[in-house]
């Protein structure tokens, strides 16, 4: 008997715990499970404001309930005539000044964090070049996909963002067609990708938190940008510094498109080069192209930002993109038969980047040299780079 009760207690406790855990959402995309410095600071500010506001709600609700319960006409009688009171000066002062005090408590960290989180001065060197010491990523939002460029390493990828953990990752954000908004809820708040100019901010991914969520975070577009706004998801892979650098080096290693091996894949590569190459690059270069960069396509987990990456989904996606992402710009851009689509799909499924193939040291050296030459050269390169965005 006692045992059963104990069991029930444990089950109850565990389910309560589960409820609490699920009440905070998923590790990968909840603002209530911050994954790093920025998200944590924002979360703390949210907590502070929630505590103050709960206090306000409780006070109001208690006063309100007492007022309503005590003054029912049924209780006081039909003919009861309340005394007319015009007001009370002391009371007015009290309920004006207490809220002001509470707001000051909230305002101080607000202003402090507003300035702190807007500080992206480390992104640029004194000469106005991209600082090669820092992790800088240029994000370009398109209808309905994301391009990520690593300017220091000159690597371009799309849809799946790879970031190092335990360091500030700086982002330059811009929209290519309409306004979007770049949001990785677990890592921190969003910032708009205007089409009028570049916005910058930074996020931090703690390694410990990254491990808790399988090194995976979800990103979303937070500004209505057309029919497929809801499907403009992306993934963030948060790797330890060394793995991150290895990934960059592997990518950098791809100087020529990966050659197809299987027979139908070879056929597919031919078709791809004729019909798809104009928009899609298969080497990690050429920021600002019409369609997502596909260099490491087969390594990615998702197709079109949200479908599982398998050949069948890929064939469906190429055959009728409109049914998967309404309003996308790929619809009608090519005319392929079912066989051709299957061939292209099998080619794309071979686009893998071999892990550990790249030379990290060379990459680091390159970056350093780059920064040296960059600081020596005049601003010509700088403007051309911006034009490319």
């Amino acid at each position: 008997m006692k045992n059963r009760w104990m069991n029930a207690k444990w089950i109850g406790l565990i389910s309560l715990l589960m409820l609490f855990v699920s009440g905070c959402g998923k590790n990968q995309l909840s603002t209530l499970r911050p994954a790093g410095e920025v998200g944590q600071e924002q979360f703390n500010l949210m907590l502070l404001s929630i505590v103050i506001m709960l206090l306000v709600i409780v006070v109001v609700t208690v006063l309100f309930t007492i007022a309503v319960v005590k003054n029912r006409r049924k209780k006081k009688g039909e003919d009861f005539e309340p005394k007319d009171i015009s007001g009370n000066h002391t009371l007015e002062v009290i309920w004006t000044s207490i809220p002001i005090l509470l707001l000051i408590i909230l305002a101080i960290p607000t202003v402090y964090l507003t300035f702190k989180q807007a500080d992206t001065s480390a992104m640029e060197t004194d000469e106005g070049e991209v600082n090669s010491e820092e992790v800088v990523i240029n994000v370009t939002a398109h209808q309905y996909w994301w391009e990520f460029e690593y300017p220091n390493q000159e690597v371009v990828t799309s849809q799946e963002l790879v970031v190092p953990t335990d360091t500030r990752v700086y982002f330059n954000l811009q929209g290519a067609d309409v306004k979007h908004s770049f949001w990785v809820p677990a890592a921190g708040g969003k910032m708009d990708t205007n089409i009028d100019g570049i916005n910058s901010f930074y996020l931090v991914f703690d390694d410990e938190k990254a491990q808790d969520s399988d090194r995976l975070f979800y990103g979303k577009c937070a500004e209505l940008c057309g029919p497929s706004h809801a499907l403009m998801d992306f993934k963030v892979q948060a790797l330890p510094q060394a793995e991150y650098e290895q990934w960059l080096a592997d990518m950098k290693n791809i100087e020529e498109p990966v050659q197809a091996s299987a027979e139908d894949a070879q056929q597919g590569q031919g078709i791809f080069n004729d019909s798809c190459m104009a928009c899609h690059a298969t080497t990690p270069t050429g920021a600002g192209s019409q369609g997502p960069n596909l260099t490491n396509f087969a390594d990615r987990d998702l197709i079109a930002g949200y479908l599982e990456n398998n050949e069948e989904n890929l064939q469906d996606w190429i055959a009728d993109p409109e049914s998967i992402k309404p309003g996308n710009n790929m619809t009608g851009a090519y005319d392929l038969t079912t066989e051709e689509i299957d061939a292209v799909a099998s080619y794309l499924m071979e686009l893998e980047v071999e892990e550990g193939s790249g030379d990290v040291e060379a990459l680091q050296q390159n970056t350093e040299e780059d920064s040296e030459t960059a600081s020596e050269s005049d601003s010509e390169e700088d403007t051309s780079e911006e034009g490319g965005n």
Partner: protein
């Protein structure tokens, strides 16, 4: 009036309403048109919640969902909430200040017809090639990009209703400043009148930025300019500023009159004068003033920089103070009173905790860095529905029950009213409370679907169930209205028994000239004072004599119809033209468009010319007629 109207026959009643300049009939026009648009917006809301009931739903396609979502927001704000508030302002304000009509009865009529024609224009988009789909905010880059004429319907439709709103705002300001009865000083005006005055001032300052913004958008989309085309030197952020310089005060344009309605109801059904009247007036004015200094809190993530964000964060927090003053004064009004739980009072009581919850999440968003998380997530959807439904819609429903006898001389059924109230309030909290969490769990707003496995399924289903409870509540309310109208059981003066302000001193139905003799006002709650000191008889401020009233006119209707016609010309002008933006340059050309534009504008300007050059001196109501009416009232009373 209605009994004579029945004798007059159906078409003459229609003609009477098309030409009327009587503020009470205009109020009914606003109520009917606004009510119909409210139902349309409600159906759109149900479609949204049906689509989001389960993950990966394909009930609505992505593009159609965006149209429904845009029309829901636009309809509810511009065509439902504001006109319904105008209905109650028109029905009460002239009566509360002891006037025989508004200052510009002709403009009042013009305002309502511009609103109705603009609303019809906007909604015709559904059957004429697709509704606007860039959200009610219609941010420029997406609005320019949006193919077809949807956004053009938005721009022209809102432009036409916007003129109507602006005209009504000017009218109310003039009415309240110049037409108060003797003794009705500013500090004796009922709160409903005060909030109408402040909201009208906000309209006059807030609508011009919207008008300008929409003009620029119209020129970009219809006449080939490039104010918002970045590639040719335009800037889309300017639209955001213009929109929100209008858009934030708009929130207060909506909520202040609702505050006014609640203030009247609290005081009436607590049988107690409003606590801290002068603090309430001061808070109202302060809210109106602050309302213009906080627009950029809608733009914290746009990248305006930390200085702008910090300043607007502090300014936004400051607004909470006067709003708090109001809440506490309402509680103090109820405190020590004698509460009668009528349907309007129930809505008013439910408003306090609901609105406080919407208010505190507003302050939470003022903390800019935290708002980077909330912004454009479902947290925001939850927040603004808490203030707009929990504040404005509760206010409208409270006002509908409270002022129904004043407008129609009958009473809505209280039992049905309370059932409807219980369902609506429960459904409201079920729908929107959980949406706060959806937002915090990372669900962006304005998404046509969500993926399975991201933890959003249950919460969205709960939200949809709540929405259907609200829909059921509205259906019961409609049944109540139909039954009440059909039974037509007349009530007499002061039907609630505890009326305090001047409008309840009038016989029901209110005579078309309102006051046989302009009353003398001896203090706040003018009617209550006379109930205590003069047996409920208002003292006259003038001797019984002939007085002047304005003539009916069909011109406001024709002026509005002209703009409506011109709208189609402007809309189709750019179709298929070389100089047009990409969104419409592929469409077939319409060579007739220019002639439609010219014809419509000619109709409008010629009617305006007739109004300007042909004197319309109005007419006099004779002393005999008024005496007759008074006698009849007395007989009816006995």
């Amino acid at each position: 009036m209605a009994s004579t109207a029945e004798k007059k026959g159906f078409w003459s009643v229609i003609w009477e309403y098309l030409t009327t300049v009587d503020h009470k009939k205009i109020a009914i026009l606003y109520l009917i048109a606004g009510g119909i648009f409210f139902l349309m917006g409600g159906i759109e809301a149900m479609l949204i919640r049906l689509q989001l009931a389960i993950p990966n739903n394909d009930f609505l396609s992505a593009g159609l969902f965006n149209e429904v979502l845009t029309m829901h927001g636009t309809t509810m704000i511009f065509l439902a909430a504001m006109p319904l508030l105008f209905a109650f302002m028109n029905a009460t304000v002239p009566l509360q200040i002891g006037a025989r009509d508004v200052a510009f009865p002709f403009l009042n009529s013009l305002g309502v017809w511009l609103f109705i024609f603009g609303g019809i224009f906007l909604n015709l988009s559904w059957v004429m090639g697709g509704a606007p789909d860039a959200g009610w905010t219609s941010y420029a880059s997406l609005a320019i990009d949006s193919p077809g004429h949807g956004i053009d319907f938005y721009a022209i439709g809102l432009q036409i209703t916007g003129f109507g709103t602006l005209i009504s705002g000017i009218n109310f300001i003039t009415t309240i400043i110049t037409m108060r009865a003797p003794g009705m000083t500013y500090m004796r005006m009922p709160l409903m009148t005060w909030t109408t005055l402040v909201a009208s001032v906000l309209i006059v300052f807030a609508f011009p930025p919207l008008t300008i913004g929409i003009f620029l958008l119209m020129f970009d989309r219809m006449f080939g300019s490039s104010f918002f085309l970045v590639e040719t030197g335009g800037n889309t952020i300017i639209w955001e500023h213009l929109f929100w310089i209008f858009g934030h005060p708009e929130v207060y344009i909506l909520i202040l009159p609702a505050f006014g309605i609640f203030s009247e109801i609290f005081s009436t059904f607590s049988r107690k004068r409003l606590f801290g009247y002068s603090a309430m007036v001061f808070a109202t004015v302060l809210i109106g003033f602050f309302g213009f200094m906080v627009w950029a809190h809608h733009m914290f993530t746009v990248g305006l920089g930390p200085t702008a964000n910090a300043i607007f964060a502090i300014a936004t927090m400051a607004i909470a103070v006067p709003t708090g003053i109001k809440i506490f004064n309402w509680i103090a009004t109820v405190w020590g009173g004698s509460i009668e739980f009528t349907t309007p009072m129930l809505y008013a009581l439910a408003f306090i905790p609901s609105f406080v919850m919407g208010g505190v999440t507003g302050v939470m968003q003022a903390a800019a860095p935290a708002d980077y998380q909330y912004h454009d997530s479902y947290f925001i959807v939850a927040h603004f529905h808490y203030v707009i439904v929990g504040g404005v819609v509760f206010g409208l429903l409270a006002g509908l029950h409270y002022y129904w006898p004043l407008m129609f001389a009958t009473m809505l059924n209280e039992t049905l009213g309370k059932i409807s109230f219980a369902l609506f309030v429960t459904g409201f909290h079920v729908t929107f409370l959980i949406q706060h969490f959806l937002g915090l769990w990372g669900m962006p707003r304005r998404v046509f679907t969500f993926l399975d496995g991201q933890g959003y399924n249950t919460a969205n289903l709960v939200s949809t169930i709540g929405a259907f409870m609200m829909a059921l509540a509205v259906i019961i309310l409609l049944v109540n209205i139909v039954m009440t109208v059909a039974q037509n059981k007349r009530v007499a003066r002061d039907p609630w028994g505890d009326g305090r302000t001047l409008e309840w001193s009038l016989p029901l139905p209110v005579p078309y000239y309102n006051f046989a003799q302009t009353p003398l006002i001896r203090g706040l709650d003018a009617y209550w004072i006379e109930k205590k000191e003069n047996n409920g008889q208002m003292l006259p401020a003038e001797s019984l004599d002939d007085f002047h009233m304005p003539n009916n006119s069909i011109l406001p209707f024709i002026i509005s119809a002209g703009l409506f016609i011109a709208g189609f010309g402007a809309l189709y002008l750019a179709s298929g033209r070389e100089w047009a933006i990409e969104a419409v340059s592929d469409l077939p050309q319409h060579p007739w468009a220019i002639w439609v534009l010219i014809t419509g504008l000619l109709i409008t300007f010629i009617s305006m010319g007739i109004r300007s050059w042909k004197d319309d001196l109005g007419y006099y109501v004779t002393k005999e007629e008024v005496l007759n009416d008074l006698e009849e009232q007395e007989r009816g009373g006995k």
